[in-house]
Amino acid sequence: MSFLQISNVSKRFGVNTVVRDFDLGVERGEFVSFLGPSGCGKTTMLRMIAGFETPSAGNIVIDGEDVTDTRPNRRRIGMVFQAYALFPNLSVADNVAFGLKVAGRPKSEIEPRVAEMLALIKLPHLAERYPYQLSGGQQQRVALARALAPSPRVLLLDEPLSALDAQIRLSLREEIRALQRELGITTIFVTHDQEEALSISDRIVVMSDGRIEQCGAPFEIYNRPTSRFVASFVGTLSLLDGVRESGSTVAVNGTSVTLAEPPQGATGAPVTLALRPEAVKLEPSPERINRLSARVEDTQFLGSVVRLKLSVAGGIILADTFNRPTAPPPLRGALVDLYFSPSDVFALKPGAAPGPATAA
């Protein structure tokens, strides 16, 4: 059994089922992200781990102890909220000391621990300040120190970076990950930002409509999404509708596209193919044996990368090419050939939750 074991958890509010049959094991020291659009149930699941909501079915076990019906204050979890939730009447040091004081630890233990925590978040000079005197990023770091001070078994982060501006978000996210590695604390991180989830997680749980859509390492989630929903939610993806031929080829408007492995379904069945923009090139190579004729609809110059919007028979394909000073990007309206290898194109599971097409 895993350190944090969530078994068949469901949550209903009246007639609405917000979380369905959630099954997940998290190992000690692992950093797992719940990723999904708002309303997908990720925060509700986190709140059930924290104990603020009670599951309608299933159970939650932390370190061998069934905590499904344990009150939040007895679970020994640390939680960081989107709105920081620092106690406005207490100084930074008193905020960090709160959990230790509540636990009745002696003063001789609290003081060094608070100093240690403030050093960890690199704010020892702000110990006597009050929350209203701090910036958002500083407040969130204090909230992190406060949650970590009583040595919780699990750290829960509920969109902790969403209220911060872009630059702080980036640096704090690296800090959180470094701290988590240093302390080896089991962490659940809830976010709707796929880039955030991809960059700091050991594993990502992509959720939609209360269900786990896919669970895996960031590399796996990005490169091998199993459903159309995951494919469209994580990263940018171009989708092509085709019809299955015999073997591992799919006909897209009359042109055969070769896949690395045969797609599911019978011959003649409709298949949706997905392509990442970085897999599509305008030059052939021994691997890139698939070729489609396209017309350049638009070019976006993004600095190191040039993103081309190409229309092919059967859909729109995005292609990212590296910027080369000697070769200007093709002009709008130009006719080009695009190439990609069989291992870069994959068929989405039929019948999976329909996601919005992202070829825009």
């Binding site: 924290a50 603020f52 204050n73 939730a85 509540v102 009050y130 929350p131 209203y132």
Partner: protein, 274 residues
């Protein structure tokens, strides 16, 4: 000055006269106890009267007891309703507004019927019991002001998230209430407290019908029997009330999280002066 500015000016002037003239007249009258000269003789007589001190102290103590009891009743109620039963809030608000609709005379007759010396709960059987009953009555009378103030204070802080944060750190509900919620609605509780103080200091009906030696009945007694002292008393009562209001302004202007228990009176004064 054009005609268009004259009219508003006149309205303000009439309003100010309507408000200040009786005050000025009362104050002037209170100074004229000795024939022919202005003096503070009436104030000296009032302050020398042992009944003034006794009744004033009685009412101050009753007011403080009311504030403590009222806060202990209202803060947890407002907290609990906001946290667990937000849908009941209009109902609770309605109940707390009832004392504004139901006259105190009805309240006190109800008390006398229910808690008289031959009832199952003979509160009025002893002086202490009657005092306790009086304070209970005052808590009811101050409920509309106390609840409004505290409830508004709670709306200003995110009590749900603060509660959850404290809970995840291992705190139990009483700890959360007294260490997290109460300090952060301190300003609101204080403004409710000053309103309560102002109400209780001058309250007549409850104190008179329960026959307690409070400041309100003393004021009425003096008013019925003396000439100059009631004017002096009215000015004193007015000054006390306005001092309460001024304190309320000062405390109320402190945003949550910016109030420090160690704040000195000097700083308070500076804030008030700004």
């Amino acid at each position: 000055m054009t005609n268009s500015r004259l009219v508003p000016f006149a309205i303000v002037a009439v309003g100010a006269l309507y408000f200040f003239l009786p005050l000025v007249a009362t104050f002037e009258f209170s100074l004229s106890m000795l024939r022919g000269i202005w003096s503070f003789e009436a104030y000296r007589v009032v302050f020398d009267d042992p009944r003034f001190r006794e009744t004033f102290v009685f009412s101050v103590v009753a007011a403080l007891a009311t504030i403590v009891l009222g806060a202990l009743l209202v803060v947890p109620t407002a907290y609990w309703v906001r946290l667990k039963f937000p849908r009941l809030r209009p109902l609770v608000e309605f109940i707390t507004l009832l004392p504004l609709v139901i006259p105190p005379i009805v309240l006190v007759f109800g008390y006398l019927r229910l808690y008289n010396s031959s009832s199952f709960l003979p509160f009025t059987g002893s002086a202490l019991g009657t005092n306790i009953l009086l304070v209970f009555g005052y808590v009811i009378l101050s409920l509309p002001y106390m609840f409004r103030a505290v409830d508004t204070g709670m709306a200003a802080i995110d009590i749900r998230t603060l509660t959850e944060a404290a809970e995840s750190l291992g705190a139990r509900r009483p700890t959360i209430l007294f260490k997290v919620i109460l300090p952060n609605v301190r300003a609101a509780v204080l403004s409710g407290a000053f309103l309560t103080f102002a109400i209780v200091i001058g309250e007549f009906v409850l104190a008179s019908l329960l026959n307690r030696p409070a400041f309100g009945p003393y004021l009425a007694l003096m008013g019925a029997n003396r000439a100059y002292e009631p004017a002096a008393l009215a000015v004193i009562a007015f000054a006390v009330t306005w001092a309460c209001m001024a304190l309320l302004q000062v405390v109320g202007s402190q945003a949550p999280g910016r109030s420090r228990s160690g704040r000195s009176l000097f700083k308070l004064g500076r804030r008030a002066a700004r």
